[in-house]
Structures are given as C-alpha cells and as structure tokens.
Symmetry: C2
DNA sequence: GTTAGCACTCTCTTCTTTCGAGTGCTAATA
DNA sequence: TATTAGCACTCGAAAGAAGAGAGTGCTAAC
C-alpha cells in the first residue's frame, strides 16, 4: 500500500523534527512547522495510522511520536531531500581532504579521522585489497649479519623489514636469493607461497642458514597483512555527545565493540561507483549495532583496492547530511586515488611528489 | 610534623578501602578491617585530625572520609606496600609481552594496547628519540619514472617512500644521488639539513629534474616524524567503567582530551632506569587532568631512544597494582629493546628473526 | 588516652502530589 | 466525507514530604 502524499509529508516532518530535537514529536509541532494546511487534529489521525503501519511509535500513550527503523528506512529511501552541500561546504571539505592527503602516509586511519571530525560521529575506515602481490623484491646488504628486505607491492605500497641474523651470510647468497625471489615470488598471491616453493628456493640458493625462510615469512606476513581487512576506528568518544548515549553502560558497550575492531561490513551489493549505503538499527548484523545506524561510502582506491569509509551513530541521525558528506569524501578519494580517471598532475597513488594540486 | 604510626596506618586503610569501594570510608569500617586495636571512636578522633592536616576530606558533615590528593601523595610515597606481582602474574605478563613483540611492527601503539588491557585504564605510549639520524640510504630504481627511497635510521628503523616522477630520470643520476646522499646526509640530524646543503648536492649531481629536493624532503620529513613525540592513546573507552566517569560530560571531556593526543609529559627528573612516576590530580599540568591521575613508566628502547608508557585514571586508582604492572612492562621492554644488556638470542631491536624466545 | 553512648546532620530512597504536554474520541462543521 | 474544535483522559516528569539509616561530633565515664 502506497502512502498518501500527506502521510509522507507528515512522516518526513516527524523524522526531521526528531533528528533535530531528540524528543518525541507532537502533532502540534508538525502542524506548526510542516506547512501542510491542516490542523493538529487531522495530523493526529494520520499519525495514528502511521503508527498502525509501523513507521512510527509512541514511547507511551500520551507522548509524541518517534520513528521506527522502518520509518527511517522509508525516510532514507524516499522522503529525505538528498542534501546538496553548498558550494562553500564542498569547497571546504575538498580543501580539508587535500590537506590531509598532502601529508598522509598512514592513509586510511587519517581519512577516518577526517570523516569523524566532519560528522561528529565515530568513523571507521578500511581498505579491502582484492589480491595484492609482490611486484619486486630488493635485498639491501648492510653487513654480513644485517640486511633489509624491501618489497614493492602491486598496489604500489612499499614494505620493508630490517633483519639481523645471528650467523653471517655472504653477499653472493643475498644476491642469489634476491634474484630467485624476484623470479618465483613475484606476482603470486599469498596462498601460492607453498612450503614446497620455499624449500625449492632454499635448495636452489644453497642456503644453509635459513635466510630463505626469513624472507618467505616476511613475504607471507606482509601479503597477509595487506590483504586482511582491518577497520580503523576513530572518534569513538564523540558518541558521548549524543543524547542516546548518555547512559554510560550503553556507550561503553558500543565503544568497546568499535574499539575492538571486529566490525564486519555486510556484502556490498553493487560494485560500481561511490555508492553510499545506510544500515539502520536492526539491519546491522552485529548485535551491538542493533540500535545504531551505520552509513558507509565506498571508494575506488586504485589497483584493485576498494576503500570503505563510514560512520556510526544513533538511529536518530542526520542521514542526509552525513550521507552527503561521506559521499563527497568518497568521491574525492576515488578521484585522487582511483584508477579510472587520470590522477591530477604531479600526483600518483597516495603520493604527492611536488607542487600543490589544490584547485 | 611527622605522622604517628597509627595515623599512617589509618590513612593507608582509608585509601585502600576507598580504592576498593569508591565510597567514603567510615570509622567503623576501618576499626573492623584495619586491625589496629582500638575502637571506632578513637579512629574518629584520628580521622578528624587527618582532615585538619589536609590528607582527608568529607563530602559532607555526616559522611565518611575520602583521600585528598595530598593524602594519595603520602600514600604513594610512603604508605602503600609496593605490590610484588605474584610469580604467575609476572609470568603471564611476560608471556603477553612476548606475544605482542613477536608480531609487532607498529610497536608503540601495540604496547599501549597491552598496558590498557592489563590495567583496564586508558593507556598512552610514546617514544622520544633523542636524535635519530639516517645511517644509510638506498635508492631502488624501478623504472625511469619510478623509484623507491629506503632509509635505514640510526635506531634501526627502516623508512621508505615510493616515488613516481612526471619526468624520467636516468639510472646514473639515481646512482649518483645515492652516493651523494650517503656521503652528506647520513649521521646528521634534521636541523643540519640546510637548503645550502641540498643545493650543493643538486649541483654536484647535475640534477635538473628536482630529484634531490624530493629525497631531501623525504629525509627531513622522516627524521621529523621519527623525532617528534606523539603519544598513542588507546582504550579511552575503559574510562567509562570507572564510577567517577559515569557522568558522560566528564568522561567526554577527558576522552576527547586524550584522543587529541596533546598530552605532554612533565620533564622526567632522573634519567636512569625504569622509574615509575605517579602524577596525582592537580600535580598534572593539563587542566583536563586535574582530577585524574597518571602513572608513567619509562623504558630504554635502545639507541638513544627513551620510551614512556602510562595510564590515565581517576585519582582513586589502584596505584600499587598499576605501578607494579607498568614497572614490569617497562622493565621487560628495556630488556628486549634496550641497549644495555645483550638482547636474548636470535632477537634484535624490535625484531625476532626466528625461533621462539619464550622462557 | 580510650571508649561507650547519644544527639545531630545530611543524603538517599520512597511515596505522594501536582502539573502539563499530548493524546483519543466525539460531535459539530464545511 | 474529510476536517476540526473541544474536552476528558493518560502518563511521565518535576517537586515536595517523610522516613530511614549511615556516620559523625561531642560528652562523660573509664
């Protein structure tokens, strides 16, 4: 059953008002603000029906109305006016983003911080790298006991490890291993690094001191680490400024859930573009999030890497503003990091070489 | 004026009890638990004097007593029995520490997490590197537009940067710059890297494409970053489990202060060993910490690097337990990372090459 | 110097009352 | 038929009142 136009307007007004005040919304308040030409009595009738339909609820008989998750869902899907950021706002956002990117190496967690600041909610950020491989190995010989492994990954990330051995290795072994690793360990995913392969390499290099194993272990560890999806959570404390988290126990529960980084994103349905997804209350899988909402935007971080950036807050949340901001942020990130379009002059993957790319 | 033995005993009993219960302590409770052979009436007299001396206070006339910062100070300095961790406890702690160190690269922040878990308070961790320099440069030529800068620092940390240039550089330039940087940029602190030095290097290398500047910038940035003191804060949410932070506003204030990482440690007086310092309430410099306590332990992270690890909590804190744990942790870290004693077999600076060093 | 005894103080809890915002329903109205 | 004014009713929040009890300070006896 489709809702009448007036019901929709009223529902939207309730949600808007509730988002603003965090107090149950009365019929009178709607009559006054939501310029539909009818009295509070009429609105009361409509409200009663909206309750019956499951979009609203009453904390108690003589209280105003509060949106249910279903109500928020309808609001998000159809009713809310997609908020366009003003020119100034989006300019400011872009400037901030640029500032961040200019100094960033730690990338993801920093982006999360930015999102958290912009929205005043806790933010989570993560990248999921489809299948990063090592593109190139370099072994730097420091002294007989010491060398550095440098691995350039397929996503242009560089990882390194300082290795100090209790026994000495001669230069030729290090060199030989460098060649061998570049021949057999590049371009393959972590699961292709079998113990057979390692053993074969060890034999081929005449390695009697176990150096091969060390490098292989580094390789496995690095790929594992890069490919694993870990969420960076920042700004948990911002929860405390929300009225629904004035109860310390409730706040503590959610905050420690977030801090433990166990967050799993539900499968993203579509694969393209900077889609913004909204998960309202019970739509979340995790028990701890059942009465919170999550908004995530995905972006293309280039080289098969997809990034997600999201915020967590009470179900009573300014969905349109947050979605707009996150969308903007994700779009900005895609543009700068993504593979599709050419990156701006003088800039490549997470890295600014020189100059200033602010528009 | 020196306190009588009995007064000391009573004060200690008040603090112990208050730490346990978070409730004002009554004369009766002390008479029962603190086996001094006298009645509650006598204790009341003593308590009144302790209040007059400023070691205790009363929330209101007919309430029990609560320690003042001065009371805690005396307690920490003289009264508390330095808690020895049981053999099992210290073994467990050492095991956990080893587990952490075995997988750690991100070092400091992980140590903080461990401290936070062990104590159930928010923890902060930082290292202050006196004057790290670059020990060795390597430039890895990937292709004409791309190369990797690898810098081995004097603290055995390795930093790298992936660089993609809009113009191409030939191999010989990269090689030449490698030599030049190793000659002039190693062993010097960041402030010694002058623009004159950079210009001279650029000339000497016949660098027309600005590569020298890029490497120098990386160098400056890296040294700056490594030498700058940033505190990693973890476990802020644990504050919420403390009764004194049930007020969300109070909790929020402190938590966002901590999250902003602006924490400055007061000068450490003595320079040697794994000293544990306690800062009680108003002894803290930051306004936000005036009614919290901070306990920090310093450790020697080797190569001129000093590390600090601490926790933040209400003034009502189990000082002896926390101090014991942090001290233990710091000692463990000094032993593993520090320069003094020889590191355990097969292990060098933050890095386990192979094998298992659990005792 | 110590202690029993007791009046006094102050908070905390519980109960009651009051107030008012907001509803649901009914009857009148366009 | 849809809307609205009017009004009784409900329920929570705030304010007050009363009582309980924990703990003190003081006094007088030991």
């Amino acid at each position: 059953m489709a809702l009448s136009e007036r019901k929709k307007k009223i529902l939207a007004a309730v949600v808007d008002e509730y988002i603003k005040t965090a107090e149950p919304v009365s019929s009178k308040a709607i009559a006054e603000t939501g310029n539909l030409g009818c009295s509070s009595a009429t609105i009361r009738n409509e409200l009663a029906e909206l309750v019956a339909l499951g979009y609203l609820e009453q904390p108690h008989t003589s209280a105003g109305r509060v949106p249910t998750p279903a109500g928020y869902r309808l609001y998000v899907n159809e009713l809310m006016q997609r908020q366009k950021l003003s020119v100034e706002e989006s300019e400011e956002l872009n400037r901030k983003l640029n500032d961040r990117l200019a100094v960033m190496d730690t990338a993801i967690s920093d982006i999360g911080k930015l999102a958290s600041q912009l929205t005043n909610y806790p933010a989570l950020a993560l990248t999921s790298n489809a299948s990063v491989t090592v593109r190139r190995f370099d072994l730097i010989y420091v002294d007989a006991n010491t060398f550095i492994i440098v691995a350039l990954l397929s996503n242009n990330d560089v990882k390194n490890k300082y290795v100090h051995l209790p026994v000495s290795a001669d230069r030729s072994l290090v060199q030989k291993l460098g060649t061998l690793f570049n021949a057999s360990f590049t371009g393959i995913t972590e699961d292709k690094i079998t113990s057979a392969l390692i053993a074969a390499t060890e034999r081929a290099a005449d390695d009697t001191i176990g150096l091969t194993a060390v490098i292989a272990a580094f390789c496995i560890e690095t790929l594992n680490e890069v490919n694993s999806v870990t969420a960076y959570v920042t700004g948990e404390n911002r929860l405390l400024s929300q009225p629904e988290f004035r109860d310390p126990d409730k706040a503590h529960k959610l905050m420690s859930y977030l801090s433990n980084g166990g967050y799993v994103f539900p499968e993203t349905g579509s694969e393209h573009g900077e889609e913004v997804r909204v998960l309202i209350g019970p739509e979340n899988v995790a028990e701890e999030l059942k009465d919170s909402s999550v908004i995530v935007a995905s972006y293309d971080a280039g080289d098969n890497t997809k990034g997600l950036i999201g915020i967590v807050g009470p179900t009573r949340m300014d969905y349109s503003a947050v979605a707009a901001k996150l969308g903007m942020l994700a779009a900005g990130l895609s543009k700068r990091l993504g593979g599709g379009e050419a990156p701006p002059e003088g800039m490549h993957n997470k890295l600014i070489i020189k100059g200033d790319d602010r528009s």
